[in-house]
Symmetry: C2
Subunit: 436 residues, 2 copies
């Protein structure tokens, strides 16, 4: 029986054309992260499941993770996210590293998803994190990196927006103003996290089940109505949370000075689930009506190293998946045309005896850093140009019987259509034309 | 209890310094492959185990593979090699692709190895393959790519050699000259594959167990003594295998014309195990006495698509792992110093009020494609230069109280030690100096 030619469910084959798109996505990520001095790292594909259990909720461990027991009885998982690995690595070196520590990575991750638009089982994710930055400068810088990244893809505030909150504000509302128990607070986080996905009646029902006082309920609903940074500021000051208000205002001021303001909107429902965040949290949303989705999320966390018994080291980071990013760029027509590769020259010969001279020329041009495609057998004149197009070359070299008799080549520039006859050994002139 | 900070057994954490080395290895691989017009592809991390069973021996499937059953009852494995995925992908598109098809990939692979020098559980491997090349031009080109790759790392024939054979020769010796049964031929392949690892007595013992005629045994031992391309040619001609001899000589001639001869040595024991190869097979060996190992292996195969019921499409390829490559470059001192990253400028300020001007300058320089590291708080003059060194910058910008009072920066070139005072808003002059 013949084998199945399709990729495993929820994963992708990257044929050269698809791979060029991925390479483009990654090259902009790398360029942007490096423009801020972030250094690339990577970790293993497998980690012990303990690591994910310590950091994440049980749902992820039980249902969404590719886990198995290895031959040495270790219970391991294919990494579903990078943060636990990052924490493990930073825990090894943070003592002797100068701060801030700026790291990025673009790992492949696997989750046991039901495949659908924007969701696959294997995806890649840019992770940018900064550790040990003073005050809220890490938050400011991470937002800058994320915005610069989107701008480097050609996007602007017509294409995306950043919805932002501060977990310190949420905590102060729940714990200080509403005086909730830990369990009530946990349930309110879940309600807030769902608030945009369900209707008002459902929210009222869920809130009523938390058993808040009337006063606390009122505070909760007025919190949910906050829409602008000014709203937040007034709300916190009315409730005498001046320190939290001031810290947040300082942060907002700093983002405005860096012209990030046009991208940022306050949103009380952004809390990033029950995750490990403790400060600013944000999500980047596509503004396109056909793709109204979160593209990217991140925030500040104070205690990521705790699970390794290390002293707290404040960090801020974000993650951006390749699938949602590609959808975003496609829907806004921001992806360059990458149908064909890019090469410098296609070297062809029209008579068998041209092989040696062709291969020699190809070899010499490669030593000069040109990308050279050779035909490995004689090809007819009329086949040369369709091949040249598929290979994305700028130049074609031809050797018919006339040229071969005189040790010449015809060198054609496919953009200008200029064609020149050159001595096949006159490397200097050939290079000069290729570089022009 | 605190969690373990170490990576899973046999895998590696790539801290920024390690990652720079990996990135360097990969960048030379990519540059070399692309200089021959090879196009990058990638496949999924997981494949169904059936695929590996169809292609590989049972040993690999049973003992060396990371396999498990997914939640949908699919028996899958983390890819231990790339060739089956490559075959699956080529089977999907080869009909409508123009030939030769030139592809490369640098996937991460996992095998359940006992970790030791040169062997880890997760490694990366360059795979270069060409499909549908005429005659033996695919073999010639793949050897060229492999040699060019090593040369691009700065290696030459003092550092490595290529041991080479032709499975067509081996088959003709075993089947035509020695008239062995399929089972005898299989056992002889195993003996040849081991010949360099065991002593003469062990070989004699193993051969005697194959039950060959005296005449066949003599042919086998004279085959094993072949040392040069001329030896092979004479041997085949004595035994009237002229067609096979001529095809091989033609191939050898072609490699000599391309100056590959200095790297190539005939070796009758190179057969690449019981693998799927059908033509030229080769292994690249480190010549260093401390690292006398195969770095890379490859060859030509005729029937890789058979398992998908596709028509035969001849291919040639090789694989090169990152661990053995790194050992090779280290033992020959060919690795560049990558201890520090490379950045353009470190922007610092020595008084708190310098923050805004610093961040603004950083932002503008990033838009001009410079790699800019900022200090996010005031740092003392004496801390600036140690930081600059760690960040691998060429320039440092300083703003003390004098400069801040006048909206100036001190821009210092760390190579020439030249220092200039510039207006912080005079971006044009700053850029000119950074680009000089």
């Amino acid at each position: 029986m013949a084998l199945n030619k399709q990729a495993y469910r929820g994963t992708r084959d990257f044929f050269p054309k698809d791979k060029r798109v991925r390479d483009y996505l990654f090259s902009v990520m790398t360029k942007t992260a490096e423009s801020f001095g972030y250094e690339s790292y990577d970790g293993p594909l497998l980690e012990e499941v303990e690591l994910y259990k310590a950091k994440s909720g049980e749902e992820l461990i039980n249902e969404q993770i590719y886990s198995f027991t290895d031959r040495g009885e270790r219970f391991v998982a294919i990494r579903p996210e990078m943060t636990p690995t990052l924490a493990r690595m930073v825990a090894q070196v943070h003592r002797e590293s100068s701060k801030p520590l700026r790291w990025f990575s673009i790992p492949n991750l696997m989750r046991y998803e039901k495949p659908q638009r924007g969701r696959v089982r294997e995806h890649w994710q840019l992770n940018c994190d900064v550790f040990g930055a003073p005050g809220r400068m890490g938050e400011v810088e991470i937002l800058q990196v994320a915005i610069e990244l989107f701008e480097n893809y050609g996007a602007n505030h017509a294409h995306f927006e950043i919805l932002l909150n501060d977990r310190a504000i949420v905590d102060s509302v729940f714990k200080t103003l509403m005086k909730t128990s830990q369990e009530q607070s946990y349930r309110l986080y879940k309600i807030v996290d769902k608030a945009k996905k369900v209707n008002q009646d459902a929210i009222i029902k869920m809130v009523s089940e938390v058993n808040l006082t009337k006063e606390s309920e009122d505070i909760f609903y007025s919190y949910l109505k906050l829409k602008t940074f000014d709203d937040v500021s007034s709300f916190l000051k009315i409730h005498h949370q001046n320190e939290i208000a001031d810290q947040f205002s300082l942060f907002v001021e700093q983002t405005k000075k860096l012209n990030l303001g046009k991208y940022l909107t306050y949103d009380p429902t952004i809390v990033r689930g029950l995750d490990y965040y403790t400060g600013i949290v944000f999500e980047i949303f596509d503004k396109h009506p056909d793709n109204r989705r979160a593209l990217c999320g991140g925030g500040a966390y104070a205690n990521l190293l705790q699970i390794f018994n290390e002293d707290p080291l404040p960090g801020v980071g974000f993650g951006l998946g390749d699938v949602t990013l590609k959808d975003f760029l496609e829907v806004h027509q921001l992806l360059p045309n990458l149908d064909n590769p890019t090469n410098d020259i296609l070297i062809t010969f029209q008579e068998d005896i041209g092989l040696d001279a062709s291969l020699k020329l190809a070899h010499l041009l490669r030593k000069e850093n040109f990308k050279v495609v050779t035909s490995l057998e004689a090809i007819k004149f009329k086949k040369v140009f369709p091949t040249a197009e598929k290979k994305g070359v700028r130049f074609v070299s031809l050797m018919g019987s006339d040229e071969l008799a005189q040790n010449k080549i015809q060198l054609k520039n496919l953009d200008t259509k200029e064609q020149q006859t050159l001595d096949v050994n006159d490397l200097e002139s050939i290079i000069k034309i290729l570089k022009a």
